[in-house]
Assembly symmetry: C2
């Protein structure tokens, strides 16, 4: 492909009204003036998808998913046509393409289809004519020629997959924040924008509740090593680069602090300590389509143990009757729920080579008398379940403990690694 | 095709909200329960197309027509998906098809494309499975695979063309009136619904301002002899059958009275009576894309004549400067405009065999001292241009003169032909 090709994706808020669509057009035209070939992927105008879904749910509680895909795909078609008109109006030649015209082929799983192939032939031809290509995100077609959609946030995935298919230099995801932050800026006023995070870190952050990028799009980018830049639609700030780890640079020990208040805990007490019990519990939950996050089994005492697990609060009402049935079957004493919890996590690629990171997090919490109810770790993540009311306090003390604050504070911090320090002062 | 196939088309008002969509679903399900195979063609929900056009015009005054087609086609996709959901919800299996999935191929004239071919293969397969097919009206694709639309009211044309392609028994056009009336019921309270009009009459009526059917759809129906039934979405009244004339029956002398208040008259006075002058005037207007309705040239006096023509009032501002230019060139004395006119017309297949119909209309007008400014006739139509303020009066007296009133009055009328009398009392 052309050497200077970039894919730019604009979310629903960024194209939420005509003024914003005009603003997006100016951004795209600017990139083109700077010598880039540009493919733009757009979401539906903010609120449009919800409006269409609401109409469907006024008709039926259990809508046919093929029809929902046809319905929802209209939103991106509308915004792509409008952005194309806005580009043409400011003298930037552009042509819209639907998922079908792009040649985005998916499997047959309506409402959450997986991309199988992107031909991109027509997009390439349009680029050769020096036109901008405006793609309706979120949608493709299956082998029958029926419209499919990629699930919520699917436009991110469309954009990254398209960047891979066209061999673009990078994929820019424009959103309503300046990039990826060390913590939620609404909770931690001195949270700092990160200049760079690795794919692995971004995956952990996304699965821990950072809403800035859809997990699938990051997986896709990692699998094909496609750099993503997360940046704001409303200013010229550089944003956050999400890419492979650079092995020549030392990694930051901790890149960010995440939290999730939408988790609940279910505990089975006095479970007989026999093989196969845990399997029974979690297979039954899996069969019911309930996804479990953390699982803790305490050490056994008198041939009995306690098993706790966390799951999204919205699934508790469905999980509890199932658990009560199992409690009877396996002669466990009791099942209890606790919706008053939250999960606080740290993520950082440098953890791998820095022992004692988890201990430092635990000490920060204990210094504030915050009790840790559950712990779970991965190679680059530590998560603690705590009482919900301490969430904000916990995030702030951990953020401070690892010196993630803004520039002034960082320079005093001894835990900063060289690339981060450089990034922070740039 | 199946012997019992009907195509039902529902306009924007009929699918204007979720309750109305549910109502349409019940109508379709009822036809299916009565043993019909049903293909439904839907327009966009009322107001949707205007809303989308407004967005486009907030961006540009001169939008690219390919993008407008992509934009507008979304409206029918949404309503077709919603109606399909509503049908499934009441246990009536249904599958939606877009213009592309239907195989509706058009020429490349974006925003007013002409249908070239309808394959209908997929529709046939769905019907074979005993499912209802719900088609997004108004749209097709061109040879490049780009979305095209058929112009305002194009869903009527989609429906009739599809009925022809599938060899349906008839095409039912559901709208917000009970059928075709002898006159506008808002103007003539005792106007009567017609049980039958011929294609020719319907064409004249449509071109004279009856909004109930789009002219192109009637032409299509006539060319392929596809019967149309115009009926209400909101009741079970029988509607009006539009079909070939039945040569075994006597035709009504006059089927209806139409009016058009949106015409204006331009007059060129003292035009030299030389060959080629009229050609020059009307070629110039045609080149400017202005369509002219009636043309009258008075008899010559002293080698000069007056030429008057009517055109839509919205075109007067464009036509007048052109006319002033011509007046200078051809040394005509004067050009004047008159926007204070209207056109009142009668249409009836029986006129062909009944002399004196026009005279009867003129007398009715003169009895009320309404001056006739221009007259134009076809085989089955007489049109008079009169002062606009007399429009309502003229329509009512002509309606009464030809005995077009409701049943009680008709029975006293001597001008009713047998089939009409039968129809009126049924």
């Amino acid at each position: 492909m052309k050497p200077n090709l970039i894919v730019q994706k604009f979310g629903g808020t960024s194209v939420g009204n005509i003024d914003r669509i005009k603003n997006v057009a100016r951004k795209v035209a600017k990139a083109r003036e700077e010598g880039k070939d540009v493919v733009v992927v757009v979401s539906a105008m903010a609120g449009e998808t919800d409006k269409l879904l609401k109409l469907a749910h006024e008709i039926t509680e259990n809508p046919n998913r093929r029809e929902i895909d046809l319905l929802l795909s209209s939103g991106e078609r509308i915004s792509s046509a409008l952005l194309t008109l806005a580009l043409n109006e400011i003298g930037c030649p552009a042509v819209s393409l639907t998922g079908r015209q792009l040649g985005l082929l998916t499997d047959n799983t309506h409402t959450r289809a997986r991309i199988k192939e992107i031909s991109g032939q027509r997009a390439k031809k349009i680029l050769e004519q020096n036109h901008v290509v405006v793609v309706a995100g979120f949608q493709g077609i299956n082998e029958h020629g029926d419209v499919t959609t990629l699930g919520r946030g699917g436009s991110d995935t469309s954009a990254v997959a398209l960047a891979v298919a066209l061999d673009a230099e990078r994929c820019e995801i424009f959103t309503d924040v300046d990039g990826v932050y060390t913590a939620d800026p609404n909770m931690v006023p001195d949270a700092r924008k990160l200049d760079h995070v690795s794919f692995e870190e971004m995956l952990e952050m996304a699965s821990l509740g950072a809403k800035v990028l859809q997990i699938r799009s990051v997986e896709f980018a990692r699998n094909f090593n496609m750099p993503i830049v997360v940046r704001s639609s409303y200013n010229e700030v550089d944003g956050t680069l999400v890419s492979e780890e650079d092995p020549t640079m030392e990694q930051p020990v901790v890149s960010g602090v995440m939290y999730d208040k939408n988790q609940s805990k279910i505990t089975l007490s006095k479970v007989p300590d026999q093989p196969g019990i845990a399997a029974k519990i979690f297979c039954t939950l899996a069969e019911a389509g309930l996804s479990i996050d953390m699982i803790i089994q305490n050490v056994s005492a008198e041939n009995h143990t306690d098993i706790s697990f966390t799951l999204p609060t919205t699934h508790v009402a469905e999980a509890m009757p199932i658990m009560r049935g199992i409690v009877g079957e396996i002669h466990a004493c009791e099942v209890s729920e606790d919706c008053d919890i939250s999960k606080v996590s740290i993520v950082g690629a440098g953890m791998r080579s820095h022992p004692g990171v988890a201990a430092k997090m635990f000490r920060a919490l204990s210094d504030e008398n915050i009790n840790i109810m559950m712990i779970s770790t991965s190679e680059i993540r530590v998560s603690c379940v705590i009482e919900k009311k301490y969430t904000e306090l916990a995030v702030r003390v951990i953020h401070k403990e690892f010196g993630l604050e803004n520039e002034q504070v960082q320079e005093e911090s001894e835990t900063r690694s060289p690339p981060e320090r450089k990034a922070a002062s740039s």
